[in-house]
Amino acid sequence: MSHAYLRGTLLLLLALVLGFALMGFEMLGSRYLYPYFGGGINTWASLIATVLVALMLGYLIGGALVDRTMSPRLCGGLLVVAGVYLFTIPLWVDPLFGWILTAIGDGMAGIVFAATLLLLLPLTLMSVFTPFAVRLLLVSISFGGRIVSYVYGVSTIGNVLGTLVTTFTLVPSFGSRALTMVFAAVTIACGLLMVVADRYLRGEEA
């Protein structure tokens, strides 16, 4: 197997796993929000909007960063920060959401604010990965279209699996807090892998 093939596979695997964790955590987000803001279409709208804002910010920031420095180590570091943030969520989520409910209420402002605190930072940092992966794989302009389609396609397959497996298998079997820890650990592992394999992922022989 060629070096480029392995490197591509590794980056796409990371895209798959991070895509899984990202949507998996969105589904878990509903479990955190329901007790305070109800389980209606309002909660879902706020959740989905927040995730989309995080993706947008992540893509913009990722694109700007990777053009400045093509550093897998930097991307990995951001993923570690995202994972650590996820880890802390079970510690503060209940008192904070209780406070938001009394201070702001359960209207759009309250739910969006709660969803933002819950998801925006970690999901933004996780989606920084996508433009990094595209740039790292982009060896020639003539493959550009396919590189972009593979990265987005594979990460979307991860999203789909994360949504379905989390909802139909994980949430009915494990607690939301434990699952949050697992997604946090997976995100940190992906980040550390990128830090450790920095030179390899740049395309230099390790």
């Binding site: 480029a4 093939y5 490197r7 591509g8 596979t9 796409l12 479990r31 329901y34 007790p35 305070y36 803001f37 109800g38 389980g39 209606g40 279409i41 309002n42 209940d94 209780g98 409910l101 009394t102 209420g105 359960d106 794989l137 593979y150 396609g153 594979v154 397959i157 789909v160 949430v171 009915p172 079997s173 494990f174 607690g175 939301s176 807090r177 434990a178």
Partner: protein, 318 residues
Amino acid sequence: MRIPRAKFFAVALVAAVGGLSSSFGGLQAIRASAQEAGLLEKRESLYNNIFIFGDRDQVTMTFGQNKRYYTESSMKLSDPGGLTVDYTRYMTLGVAYPEKVERIAEIGLGGGRTVSYLSQTLPDAGILAIELDKDVVDLAKKYFKFRETARLRTVVSDGRAYLLKDPEKWDVILIDAYRGPFVPFHLLTKEFYTLVKSRLNPGGVVVQNIEPSTMLFDSATTTLKSVFPSVDLYDGGGNVVAIGYDAMPVSQTELMARAARATERWKPRYDFRQMVAERRVLAKPTGKILTDDFAPVETLRAIEKNNEKWKEQTEAPR
């Protein structure tokens, strides 16, 4: 780097077709139901597909889901004050438990028959119905003769969010919040019942309507029992009504005496004493306690069980 392209597109295609066909199925269900005889009104609200059926003497509110209709409320036009759905009579028994009943809250209005009955029966009590769906309130007024008064008010809110925001206390909290076939998970957890307990005056009770045909029943009663030391269960003709309170079980003699006093005072149409005679006390909770962290309600609901099986977990009151 290469990905098997055919496989990639096949997966994407299957996902897309799956999504389309499932939403198409939903549309068909709604269209078919509109042709049912006796449909007075169909309303797609923010939360539910509400169908009002009626004939010459009866009007029924149902929520449609999975091509089935789940009855939320029913009323006889010739006898609007009666409680036609059996379990709702047992819901009213909650007011016989406390020493005083000045404030009653209900989560889940439906057609508003239970609170209307209580408002007429207890002329001094203030009642608040907390209903998530504004359209349910509108339809209760339109078809079920539900009228708000100074003593009977409604607020449109999620039940748990309302209790969290509002520190007022109640003598009786009724919980009848079904969305079609199920109760949202956040109204079944230990944290929720702990909140309910904190919103009860001393001697207050929580009354909940629970459907007994799945494993979710066992978990719901077990969770209730983990917060309220005493849980009484009443067979409400299909549904089970659970009454929880924060004290050791009241003796049957004492509860019967309270029921007699309440009957004498309010002269309710449905005699509390007859209901107390059917009391069962939850003694052996066998379910798993549900928490905000882990409440696999969908899984538990998928495991069906004998409707009468719950009685094995109870004993006769002493």
